[in-house]
Point group: C2
Chain length 337, copies 2
């Protein structure tokens, strides 16, 4: 039997436990060219909230009655003449919040777990890491000496953004919630400064840590923090719009950036990005980031919870900030002795 | 005597008549290397409102007690060994709202009034025209076949934006206030469509006229119209932030674009611009636009009022939309017989 979490209603504001329903369903027979993947881990990402809204976006919404979309990693445990994959292969892709997935393999790619453990492949070497890598290099166009500011700086995307920027020779300041996360940014990840948005003015913090202004701001949060950043940009600054976690559960309309005319004053650019556009270069990015990890220059931290039954309390941590690294849920059930 | 309009207080919201004071002062003696310019026309632009606020911007604010800043055109009537200019030269520059200006000529450049009349040099061949030209080509990066949407489309900047885009092979839709202006855009300027924001939903108008979405949106107004445009952009769209006339007199904070996450969904770019950055290419732009004007492809329309005493009621027309083309004030007093 396959435990599957299905979307049963469209949330208004913050989702609640009854937004989804956990079902047990038989695993269908494999058709020719299909594989059965046993999911080990699924990725929890703020973007999931957006996928639940019935609006035109960069990806179709999850439909009512569908398995909740999620990035995943798992092992092929059965194959029916699949042209590429065989039993024992470890694949990452869009497996969804469920324990098993039958697929023809499209959207999946194989990974080598002798180089990095499974959770890393849905974190720093997966979608969040790729988002960070391409966002800061291709959209942010960082160059040595740039002052880089990143929000959600201790998160799965933000922590990679800052570290990649440091590797590329930038001065990096992170915005995160709480003293512990800020200490982690500076002491563990080597950020040049950190601003604790829960306990200090972000505007003043940016002024203090970036007295000459910000060249590149990587935004994961939107809202007031985006406005504070806009008020402190430098001439020809680039603002990367990656997400807006502060706004995803708004029931009213989104707070647009009141300070957007700073783009005019500073001849600056605000540009949106979606990681899928860079798929053809994932491999190269993974090699670069894998090398940096091996060299100890790029650190990866996962916060792993267990049991598909615990999806909802784990999902909540995305929005209340109660997490220590990339949020991951282990959905594999190990046999009870 | 020189009639000069001086800023006497910082306005809150829409300026009032007593924001400025008209004085008569003697014209100072010329120092070595200076010229005396008799201003014929001054340019009225929405940007003037911004220059009155005591905030960091792309140009220092006008100080209390200073002559109000304005673009101008006039004739040299006296020269004291000026290295470049002599009596009879016609110069355009930042002469301010006054009848005479003593200057060393910095920021001025000479124009040939046998090719175009004086008002055109502070309109289509002046700052508004240059803003339009560089904004739509360099920042908007228009190419043949693009769908171009422009707000303030009948204004000094907007009308040139749309016509240049037409010349470059784009499909052009304009947003303006009132049936008369909309008719002018389509019948006189050759726009492919026009949306009357005073009498119809801009969102629905864009949907109707740009069913496949907008490639380039040139924004002069901000506010709800910017939001309606954001909701209708196409993949990889470019949004040129040139101004935000709907917000300049706000006494509360500016309305930021609530739909800015459309930048993410559509991998789009929003970029600010200031015309001064393109000064080195003004000459080439003026030649191109002058040629188009001579060929009848680019039309220029000025709405000229008379008398420096009438500055304030003319200025008001910038914001209430009651104007027919580029707003200009003739400050030259012709001798009474």
């Amino acid at each position: 039997m396959n435990k599957q979490l299905k979307l049963v209603k469209r949330p208004v504001g913050m989702p609640e436990a009854d937004t989804w329903n956990l079902e047990s369903n038989p695993i269908p027979e494999l058709k020719e060219g299909e594989v059965l993947i046993q999911n080990h881990y699924i990725s929890l990402d703020p973007a999931m909230r957006g996928w639940m809204n019935n609006v035109r976006s960069y990806i179709p919404p999850v439909q009512i009655g569908d398995v909740m979309r999620a990035g995943s990693i798992g092992e092929v445990i059965k194959a029916n003449n699949h042209p590429k994959y065989k039993v024992g292969d470890v694949l990452t892709g869009w497996g969804g919040v469920q324990q098993y997935n039958v697929t023809d393999g499209s959207g999946y790619y194989p990974v080598d777990t002798s180089l990095a453990p499974m959770p890393t492949y849905i974190g720093t070497l997966g979608m969040p890491g790729m988002t960070a890598y391409f966002g800061i290099t291709e959209v942010g166009k960082i160059k040595e000496g740039d002052v880089v500011l990143v929000s959600g700086a201790a998160g799965a995307v933000g922590s990679v953004v800052g570290q990649v920027a440091k590797i590329k020779g930038c001065r990096v300041v992170g915005i995160a919630g709480g003293a512990e996360k800020c200490k982690y940014l500076v002491d563990e990840l080597g950020y040049d400064g950190a601003i604790d948005y829960k306990n200090e003015s972000v505007f003043k913090g940016i002024k203090k840590h970036c007295p000459e202004g910000v060249d590149v701001y990587f935004d994961n949060v939107g809202g007031d923090i985006l406005d504070a950043a806009l008020a402190n940009i430098r001439m020809h600054a680039r603002i990367v719009i990656c997400g807006a976690i502060s706004q995803y559960n708004n029931t009213d309309k989104i707070n647009g950036p009141s300070n957007y005319l700073s783009l005019l004053v500073n001849r600056a650019t605000m540009q949106g990005m979606v990681v899928m556009d860079y798929a053809k270069d994932y491999r190269e990015a993974a090699m670069n980031m894998g090398t940096w990890m091996a060299q100890g220059k790029l650190k990866s931290k996962e916060d792993i919870y267990e049991g598909i039954e615990n999806f909802f309390p784990t999902f909540e941590r995305l929005f209340n900030g109660d997490k220590k690294g990339k949020l991951i849920l282990k959905v594999l059930e190990t046999a009870k002795v």
